[in-house]
Each structure stands twice: as structure tokens, then as C-alpha cells.
């Protein structure tokens, strides 16, 4: 039974005084404006389920205005016409401003997303600044290729900014997600229309404000809050958006890709769901393995696309492993994300919360054994104890579908070949983990699993220099790393005849 520390009645004991919300409107063409319809919607605090404030709700008309501004900024404005190094300088200033305002930004993610304040302050927000600096430093390093053509031609490629980018981001890591796309898109010289998740509309507006302060020209970065079916759909089917990038559920990813195809065939990149396996071999250091496995699923309250929701433990160490895992779960503190003693805050919204609880019920009904946790905590807010299921069979719903919550499915395996087969037996392919000391096992398994990122003796180890993305229905396209720039660039080949060259 996880430690109870229900946040609702103790909200006033928050260690950090939450500042008033500064920005609630849409940010279009360098200004904060109401939506055309005048509509607003609530930003909710998942600690209580109550509203924090109301924010402007954008719809198709607002997206149209934002795209107009972004188009103007791209076709005629200074941003793409600046040198990469000049863009880099502005982006560096932007990163500095983010760091200056780290506490307020961290508080926004904690209060709106239920994320741990201390983590946001130490990792999410600095991570966003780091991300921005990486791409700021890349902006002046976008090389093309001079080609080796035959038949008396010379040629080279130019990598040009793709244009107006639509960015639709999720609610689990508002800061990181914002910059995962904005970093490379801006470095490449593109302009953007960002639609944050309706669950977490607040921090993106703050970032827009800081961007302008840093010197980003008007119209380059636009933020339109709203809902998927309205604002999001308007982006994916817009005839004047050159590229759409989406992170979210596989189900919505499909809709976006279909809309992109039906409209102007805009290129699409998708970062979708996962049901990532973690394979723990007998030679693993058990304590280390327990730690890794625990955090691999319960980090960020299980609301992470790469969460290792399927844990395969080799039978030789299974019993010991499970025992230590349960001990760890029992020591896990759930409560107010502003409390430094807390390990896990509330799930982000009511819909997720209810979905997770229903999956847990389903798991029990299917015959899996709920070893620990799985119950709601308190009567207000969306707190759930971390749940560990054993006796899970491969064909159970909880072993196949992405739950996106603190629910681990634990399974036993005999041989490496079997583990590989079962690990790959999914339509997803986002991540995987392997814990072993053996070099051959590490090499074989990492090459055999069809997933975009394989963690050896670690998990959730992200770095802005490391490309990240999915195989199969986890999506396509890579983010992070220099490769991410390609998502926001077009390649143009230029060819001309060459006469009398002393070499070819």
C-alpha cells in the first residue's frame, strides 16, 4: 500500500507560493489576443479537479489568423532571412530567459499538470533551456552536400526551411514537448503555430511571451490553445501549413495523418504511444534492476510514452525481484506535487484518471494478480497508487494496450529468444530496456528489438543529442539530435553543367 498523502486538504501547505497566472489569451503575431469567438475554457488543477483559471479557446478562425501571421513572418519577415548564427543568438537569449523564470514555469507545470515541482525545476525547465541551446548552436551548422555527379554536371544540395510548421503537443511534459519541436523548427528558420494540449494550456503562453522578449520577430511563434477536434484538426487540414508535427496518442495520430493527406499532403511526423518492454536478465544486479524498473513505469505518474509498462524478468531472479519491487512501491509517497517529500503527483486529468482505474479493474477481471496499489487516493483530485500486476498473460488487455498511468505488468521469461519474441509482439515500437551484464546478450537483444530507442542498463535516459522516435505504430520521424532538423528542412538540389573541369 503506497503512502497516503492526499493533496486536497493540504493544498494550503504547498511549500511554494503559487504566483498568479499571467498569460491566458492566445498569442498571435506577437500579441496576446482573445479568440475570435470570445470563448474560453478552464485550466484544471488535478490536485483538486478544480479550475485554476480560464484561458482563451481557439478554433479554426484563430488558427487561420495564426497561420496568416506565420506565413507573413516566413515569406516576408526577417526570421528565415537572418543567418543561422543570428537566429542562434536570439534562441540563446530565449534560453537564458527561461532559466531566469524557472520557478514560475515549474509551478505552472506542477499546478496544471500535476508534475512534481522539484523535478520540473531541476529537470523539465532546465531541460527545455538546454534543448533550445542545443539547437541554437546548430542553427549555423546546417550543411548541404556538394555532390559527385557524372556526365559533366556539378551539383549541390541546399537545406532550406520548410515554412510554416503546425505543432500539436501533449500534456505530459509541457515544457519539453514545446521545445522538442520549437528548438529545431526555429533553428531551421521556420515559423510556427503551436497548439498545446487543452489539459495544459498555460506554460506555452509564458514561453511565447519570453520568446518575444528575447527578440523573436512577431509571427514566428504563435500559440493557439484549444481542443483537438477544433483547433488541432484545423491545423492538420490547413492548406497553408507546410508541415505538421504531433506527439500524442496513436488514435489521434491517425486522424492527423489522414487530414494531412486529404488537405495539402503536408509532411507529417508522429510521436505516438508505446507499450515498451523492459527485459531483465538473471545476471542483473537485482537492486539496480528494481530501481530501474520501478522508475521506468512510475516516473511522471506513468504518463510517459516510453513507459516500460511490460516488465519481463528472467525466472531465476523473479521471486527476489518481485519482493523488492513491492517494498519499493510501499515506500512510494503520493501527494501534493509541491511537497518535496512526494514522489508522485496526481494524474493529469479526470479522463485519464478514470481510464486508468478502469484498466486496473479490467486487469483484475482478466485474471491478473494485483500485487499492490491500484486504488484511488483521497476523495479529491486524481491520485492513484502505483499498481503492480503479476500473472499477466500476453493476450490480456493490460499487456497489450497503452494505459498511460502508474500500472506495471510483470511477466516471467525463460530464454533470451523467448523474451525477444514476446517483446516484439506488439504493434508499438517506441522504446525498450535491457538489463544484463553480458555483452553478447546486450548486443543481440538491442539489435533484435524493433524499437526506436533501446536502453541498456538504464531507462528514460534522454539527451538532446540522442535521436528519439518510434518504429511501427509508435510513429515515424526522429526528434532530438541533429536529425530532428531534417523534419523542418526541405532539400533542394541545384544542378548545372560543367565544362573543362580538371577533375570529376
Amino acid at each position: 500500500m503506497a503512502s497516503e498523502y492526499n493533496g486536497s486538504s493540504k493544498a494550503s501547505e504547498s511549500v511554494f507560493k503559487i504566483p498568479p497566472i499571467k498569460f491566458t489569451k492566445l498569442f498571435i503575431n506577437g500579441k496576446f489576443v482573445d479568440s475570435v469567438s470570445g470563448k474560453t475554457f478552464e485550466a484544471i488543477d488535478p490536485r483538486t479537479g478544480e479550475a485554476i483559471t480560464r484561458v482563451s479557446e481557439g478554433d479554426k478562425e484563430d488558427i487561420d489568423l495564426a497561420v496568416k501571421a506565420a506565413r507573413q513572418a516566413f515569406d516576408h519577415g526577417p526570421w528565415p532571412r537572418m543567418s543561422g548564427s543570428e537566429r542562434g543568438m536570439i534562441m540563446m537569449k530565449f534560453a537564458d530567459l527561461i532559466e531566469k523564470n524557472v520557478e514560475e514555469l515549474a509551478a505552472l507545470d506542477a499546478i496544471n499538470g500535476g508534475k512534481l515541482f522539484s523535478h520540473c525545476k531541476a529537470m523539465d525547465i532546465p531541460g527545455a533551456a538546454r534543448n533550445l541551446r542545443y539547437y541554437a548552436g546548430a542553427a549555423d551548422k546546417i550543411h548541404g552536400t556538394v555532390l559527385k555527379l557524372s556526365k559533366g554536371f556539378q551539383g549541390y544540395t541546399l537545406r532550406e526551411p520548410i515554412g510554416v510548421v503546425g505543432s500539436i503537443i501533449p500534456w505530459n511534459f509541457p515544457a519539453i514537448m514545446f521545445f522538442m519541436k520549437a528548438g529545431p523548427a526555429l533553428a531551421a528558420g521556420c515559423s510556427m503555430v503551436v497548439k498545446p494540449a487543452e489539459q495544459t494550456p498555460l506554460s506555452a503562453l509564458y514561453y511565447a511571451y519570453l520568446a518575444k522578449l528575447a527578440g523573436l520577430p512577431d509571427g514566428v511563434l504563435n500559440v493557439v490553445n484549444g481542443f483537438g477536434e477544433t483547433a488541432g484538426a484545423a491545423i492538420s487540414s490547413h492548406m497553408d501549413i507546410d508541415k505538421v508535427t504531433f506527439t500524442g496518442s496513436t488514435e489521434v495520430g491517425r486522424k492527423i495523418m489522414a487530414a494531412a493527406a486529404a488537405s495539402n499532403l503536408k509532411p507529417v511526423s508522429l510521436e505516438l504511444g508505446g507499450k515498451s518492454p523492459l527485459l531483465i536478465f538473471e545476471d542483473a544486479d537485482i537492486d539496480q534492476a528494481v530501481n530501474i524498473a520501478f522508475n521506468a513505469i512510475f516516473y511522471n505518474k506513468g504518463e510517459i510514452c516510453v513507459a516500460s509498462s511490460r516488465v519481463y524478468v528472467q525466472e531465476g531472479i523473479y521471486q527476489t525481484f518481485v519482493k523488492k519491487l513491492v517494498e519499493k512501491a510501499n515506500a512510494w509517497v503520493i501527494g501534493d506535487p509541491f511537497d518535496p517529500r512526494v514522489n508522485q503527483g496526481p494524474q493529469t486529468d479526470k479522463k485519464q484518471f478514470e481510464k486508468i482505474l478502469s484498466y486496473i479493474e479490467h486487469g483484475k477481471r482478466e485474471g491478473a494478480t494485483l500485487l499492490t496499489g491500484g486504488k484511488r487516493l483521497g476523495s479529491k483530485g486524481f491520485y492513484i497508487e502505483p499498481a503492480i500486476f503479476t500473472d499477466v498473460k500476453e493476450d490480456m488487455t493490460i499487456a497489450k494496450e497503452e494505459i498511460f498511468g502508474p500500472v506495471m505488468s510483470l511477466m516471467k521469461f525463460k530464454t533470451m529468444e523467448e523474451a525477444i519474441k514476446r517483446a516484439n509482439n506488439t504493434t508499438y515500437g517506441l522504446a525498450a530496456g535491457v538489463i544484463t551484464k553480458n555483452l553478447n546478450v546486450a548486443n543481440t537483444v538491442s539489435r533484435s528489438i524493433r524499437a526506436g530507442i533501446i536502453w541498456l542498463n538504464c531507462y528514460t535516459a534522454f539527451d538532446v543529442d540522442c535521436p528519439y522516435g518510434g518504429y511501427k505504430m509508435s510513429g515515424f520521424g526522429r526528434e532530438f539530435g541533429l536529425d530532428a532538423l531534417n523534419q523542418y528542412l526541405q532539400i533542394k538540389s541545384i544542378v548545372t553543367p560543367i565544362h573543362d573541369s580538371p577533375w570529376h
Binding site: 548552436g137 551548422k141 539489435r447
Partner: protein
């Protein structure tokens, strides 16, 4: 230290330099003689730009995974090479510092840098700023001294893993030899040049004159890549000479701290006297002295902007690197001829081409054996553009992504794979 932390230190350093740029610009001009406006408005910003550029590389130094034939996992690690010995010249003290220190630090190396004995001051100043920026002690060491003593010690040191030198071709040979005789440390050299600037018959003569003037006279003519052989097509030759002479006569020479001055003194007595000797040689060889030809004033190392026309390929002033404000103008008839003559030198640092024609530009750029070819421009030196010599103008490239190779070792790591899922 993580690469990110390294980049933060370099960025902090760049900020500190910006804070102190007024003092640094003055120091640079005082010690070198280049116009203050050049130091302040062009070289300090370029210095800062270079460190921003290299800071951005620090966390992006990639190796490769290699598709070896057969069941092997192969990766190449690009590791810091170790202790880099760097020997820099006096013509652009701060910029030369940046060209060397930037990539070396971005790749995670440590440095022993020997400044030119003529210009020891600004490197010491910025080394202190690096310390303030958080660079750990021992990473960047600056030793002022002379070539035959400090420089030679560095080039022949058994515990220096790499040496990079910019200076004269003669000294470059010595550095290479010392490196070979000691521990075979890899060497990169940026040496002299006698770079041709080819002005084609379709040239806008006024623009060509101005650019050719800049290409030679910039920095008191003390540029390794100076356009020191100005080839002019016969059709525009006479007009060109007249205008080049007029332009040189208009060149403002004087105290580099005074506004409007385009040319300061030469760096020292040795250079000053060498330039005057070459001018005398030019006169004696019967080239036509259009203007200039002697020192200016009685104090310091000021030389009159000098223009020779009717220069022949076999004259000393057409063959040797003068490193001073002496422009040599030669006539040519057709493209094939000028290619042959332009390439007829042991040097190969840079070249300039002035033409409107796509064909001519394509032909010349490919035919000229030089590390940089500037088309309708000259001395464009952004941090991202690689720079270096063919032939006896040097070995290796500085700036751009290419400079990183100079400060990295490549280690291939090979492991067999059992039953790989794919090859």
C-alpha cells in the same frame, strides 16, 4: 565535464570578451598597428562569433556506427586528441587565437599556446577571461616567447599530442620537421601565399578595383591570403591601372587610433625593411612603379601604398610573398593562360575571381589550385567556412566543421555479433 558544460564555459567566455571588448580592441591596435575601427568593429565581433560557433559544436561531436562486412558491431569514437600545441602569428592575434583555441576546446582538449613575440598581449588578457568563465586551470596555457626557443620546444615536445602552426612557410617546414623528429605528432600548418586575384574582361572595373585594392592592402598587406598577384584582362587593363593607382593614392595611412585611417604601420622593423627591399627589387626589375615606393614619414614602420604594373611572372615581386602594402598587377589574354599562370606557384592558399559569367566562374573555381576561391568577393571569413592551403601554403583546414578533425582522434571499436537480426 559534460560537453554541455564545456559549451556553457565557452559561451560565458564570449560574454566576458564582449564586456571587455573596448579594452581588447585598443590593446590589439596598440600592439599590432591595425586600424582601431577594424579591431573594434570587425575583429572583436568576429572573435566572439567564433567562440559562439565552436561552443555550439561541443555537444555535437559525433562518431559513426559503421556497416562492416560481416557480423561485427563497429563504432568510431571521436576522442579528444590530448594536449594541443598551438603557435600563432602576429597579424591577427585575437582571431588567430580563436581559430585555434575554439575547436581544440570544443573537442575537449587542453592547450599550450605560444603567441608571436611581436604580439603577446591580447592572448594573455583573454586567457584570464577564460579563467573567470570557469575554464579549469591547466586547460588553456599561454606562453609568450620566441620561435627558436618556446616554439621549437612545443613542436618537438614528446608529450604534446598535436601541433598547429600558422606563420611563414619556412618556419612551417621547421615545425613539421621537429614534429617528425620527436614523437610524430600530427601537424596542421597555415602558411604563406601569393594568391592570384583574376579580373576577367566582363568585370565592372570600378568594383574590381575596389575589391582588388582591399584584397591586397587590407591589414597593411599582412594577410597570408592577400590577393598579391592581380591578374587583369587586357581589355580592361589600362582603365584598371589608372583607377588602381588613384585608389592607392587615396589610401589614408597614419595613426591607427585616428578615425578614418585605413592603414597603420607594419608590425616591426624586420617586416618593414623586408617590404622596402621588395619594393626596391620591384623597381630594379623594371616593373612600372605607379605610386608609392618608399616609407612614409621618419618614425615607425609606415610604408606608402605601392602599386606596380606591367609585372612579369618571373619578377621577385610576382613570386615571393611580400606581406606588405605592395600591389603587383599583371596582364593576361585568355582563361587558359591565366589559369596556368595563377597556378604556377608553390603556394596555393587562396584566389579571387571577378566575373559575371557563370561559365567563367565555374571553370576558374575548379581549375585554381587553392584552398579558398572567392568569387566576386574577398576575405570572407565566417566561422563556418573552412580555410587552408594547397601545396606549400599548408596542411589541413581551419574553421568550420573541418577544424574539428584536427583535434580529434578516431578510435574504431569492434565487437563480434552472435546471430544478429540483420547485417
Amino acid at each position: 565535464m559534460t560537453p554541455y558544460e564545456r559549451s556553457r564555459i565557452m559561451l560565458r567566455f564570449a560574454d566576458l570578451v564582449e564586456k571587455h571588448s573596448e579594452e581588447l580592441a585598443a590593446l590589439e591596435t596598440w600592439n599590432n598597428g591595425k586600424p582601431h575601427e577594424q579591431s573594434a568593429k570587425s575583429e572583436l565581433p568576429m572573435f566572439i562569433r567564433l567562440f559562439h560557433y565552436y561552443a555550439g559544436w561541443a555537444d555535437k561531436i559525433h562518431g559513426l556506427t559503421v556497416p562492416a562486412d560481416g557480423p561485427h558491431h563497429v563504432q568510431t569514437l571521436h576522442e579528444p586528441i590530448g594536449v594541443a600545441g598551438q603557435i600563432i602569428p602576429w597579424n591577427f592575434p585575437l582571431i588567430m587565437f580563436a581559430w585555434k583555441v575554439g575547436p581544440a576546446l570544443a573537442c575537449g582538449n587542453t592547450i599550450v599556446l605560444k603567441t608571436a613575440e611581436q604580439t603577446p598581449l591580447t592572448a594573455l588578457y583573454v586567457a584570464k577571461l577564460f579563467h573567470e568563465a570557469g575554464l579549469p586551470p591547466g586547460v588553456l596555457n599561454v606562453v609568450s616567447g620566441y620561435g627558436p626557443t618556446a616554439g621549437a620546444a612545443l613542436a618537438s615536445h614528446m608529450d604534446v599530442d598535436k601541433v598547429a602552426f600558422t606563420g611563414s612557410t619556412d618556419t612551417g617546414k621547421i615545425v613539421l620537421e621537429l614534429a617528425a623528429k620527436s614523437n610524430l605528432k600530427p601537424v596542421t600548418l597555415e602558411l604563406g601565399g601569393k594568391s592570384p586575384f583574376i579580373i576577367c574582361e566582363d568585370a565592372d572595373v570600378d568594383k574590381a578595383v575596389e575589391l582588388a585594392h582591399f584584397a591586397l592592402f587590407f591589414n597593411q598587406g599582412q594577410c597570408c591570403c592577400a590577393g598579391s598577384r592581380t591578374f587583369v584582362h587586357e581589355r580592361v587593363y589600362d582603365e584598371f591601372i589608372e583607377k588602381a593607382k588613384a585608389r592607392a593614392l587615396r589610401r589614408v595611412v597614419g595613426d591607427p587610433f585616428r578615425k578614418g585611417v585605413e592603414q597603420g604601420p607594419q608590425i616591426d622593423t624586420e617586416q618593414f625593411e623586408k617590404v622596402l627591399r621588395y619594393i626596391r627589387a620591384g623597381i630594379e626589375s623594371n616593373a612600372t612603379l605607379e605610386c608609392g615606393g618608399d616609407r612614409l614619414g621618419t618614425k615607425g614602420y609606415f610604408v606608402q601604398p605601392t602599386v606596380f604594373s606591367n609585372v612579369m611572372d618571373d619578377m621577385l615581386i610576382a613570386k615571393d610573398e611580400i606581406f606588405g602594402p605592395v600591389q603587383s598587377i599583371l596582364k593576361f589574354k585568355d582563361i587558359d593562360e591565366v589559369i596556368r599562370r595563377a597556378n604556377n606557384t608553390r603556394y596555393g592558399l587562396a584566389a579571387g575571381v571577378f566575373t559575371k559569367s557563370v561559365e567563367t566562374a565555374n571553370t576558374l573555381t575548379r581549375a585554381l589550385r587553392a584552398g579558398t576561391v572567392w568569387v566576386n568577393c574577398f576575405d570572407v571569413f565566417d566561422a563556418a567556412i573552412p580555410f587552408g592551403g594547397y601545396k606549400m601554403s599548408g596542411i589541413g583546414r581551419e574553421k568550420g566543421i573541418y577544424s574539428l578533425h584536427n583535434y580529434l582522434q578516431v578510435k574504431a571499436v569492434v565487437t563480434p555479433l552472435k546471430n544478429p537480426a540483420w547485417l
